[in-house]
Amino acid sequence: MLFYEFFCIGLLAIGGGAATIPFLFDLSKKYGWFTPEDLTDMIAVSESTPGPIGVNMATFAGFETAGVLGALTATLALVLSSIIIIVLLNKLVNRLACEEKLHTLLKGVQPAVAALILNAAFQIGMNNLKDWLGIGIFMSLFLLMFLYKKSPVFYIVLAGALGYLFKL
């Protein structure tokens, strides 16, 4: 089950890391392997630890679901689809023409991916922006991100510090 679900995520999460998040939200609703709050914490941990976000998320989600074996299963399933597709792509005689077609095709999917991530952000917001203090912190963090190009780790640590200071 875990293998099948993460294999599908690997196939359909186009555009990397953050694109896996909406799929994981669906999983939490469908099976209840983990809660949306767990998932939000996983995003924070995945953003602030080394390694690609998508891989980190899969490992974490797999671990929450079924321990070490779950983590291994989910991560391997996620990367397996990548390996298969790229090895196949390399074996093709007419690789360049194929890549071009794939490119136009997947460019069309990008707006949908943007909508998906926006929806995930919206869900997290609905769950966690409970009072004006939270909304205020949210707005100021969002503004800061436009003014200063710091790494996500910086903002996650800052958000945690603000949460502690204001007893959020």
Binding site: I14, G16, P50, K107, A112, L118, Y155
Partner: protein
């Protein structure tokens, strides 16, 4: 034999030293694969990034698979990918196993509440950057906005699943390819 070890070290280090994946790992990878080891030229690596971004799956994994394949075919691809995800597996499993205990402290509750607000802001910024990039790179802007709007409405009002939305977008983007072929 030496190539296998070098391949492993290069991608293990990339997985260990980069935060966030995707283009964040380009500088490290350039250093490890191009400058230090001469496995490939810089333009080849950039090309892999371009393709890795528009093939399904995680960009970082796609690039590792491509590089591994170039050096040692299928098993090279598997090996490079394994080396790339190994740091994530180890670090995340370690954190995940102590996470529940750590967050049961009272102070952690406030910190986590703040962090969740921060994650929400971060995701919104990701969407913003993605929208800006799509808008700049697409010729048919109205079409892109249309797909965005339809997916958004479907998600909010129809509670569609992510799988449904992506499959819908794939089918819709396939249409122009067929129409073009029909005209020929």
């Amino acid at each position: 034999m030496k190539v296998w070890v070098e391949l492993f070290v290069a991608f293990f280090k990339t997985g260990l030293l980069t935060f966030g994946g995707g283009y964040a790992m380009l500088p490290v990878l350039k250093d490890e694969v191009v400058a230090k080891r001469g496995f490939m030229r810089e333009d080849e690596l950039l090309n892999y990034f371009a393709i890795g971004q528009c093939t399904p799956g995680i960009i970082a994994v796609n690039v590792a698979t491509f590089c591994g394949y170039k050096l040692r075919k299928t098993w090279g691809a598997v090996w490079a990918t394994f080396a790339m995800i190994l740091p994530s597996l180890l670090i995340i499993m370690l954190i995940a196993s102590v996470f529940k205990t750590l967050t049961s402290y009272k102070a952690a509750g406030h910190i986590l509440a703040g962090v969740r607000v921060g994650v929400c802001a971060l995701l919104l910024k990701v969407v913003w950057d993605l929208c800006v990039r799509i808008y700049k790179n697409t010729q048919n802007k109205i079409w892109a906005i249309f797909i965005f709007a339809v997916s958004g409405i479907g998600l909010l009002l129809g509670h569609l699943s992510a799988v449904t939305v992506v499959v819908f977008a794939l089918l819709v983007s396939l249409m122009p390819l067929f129409i073009k072929r029909g005209k020929k």
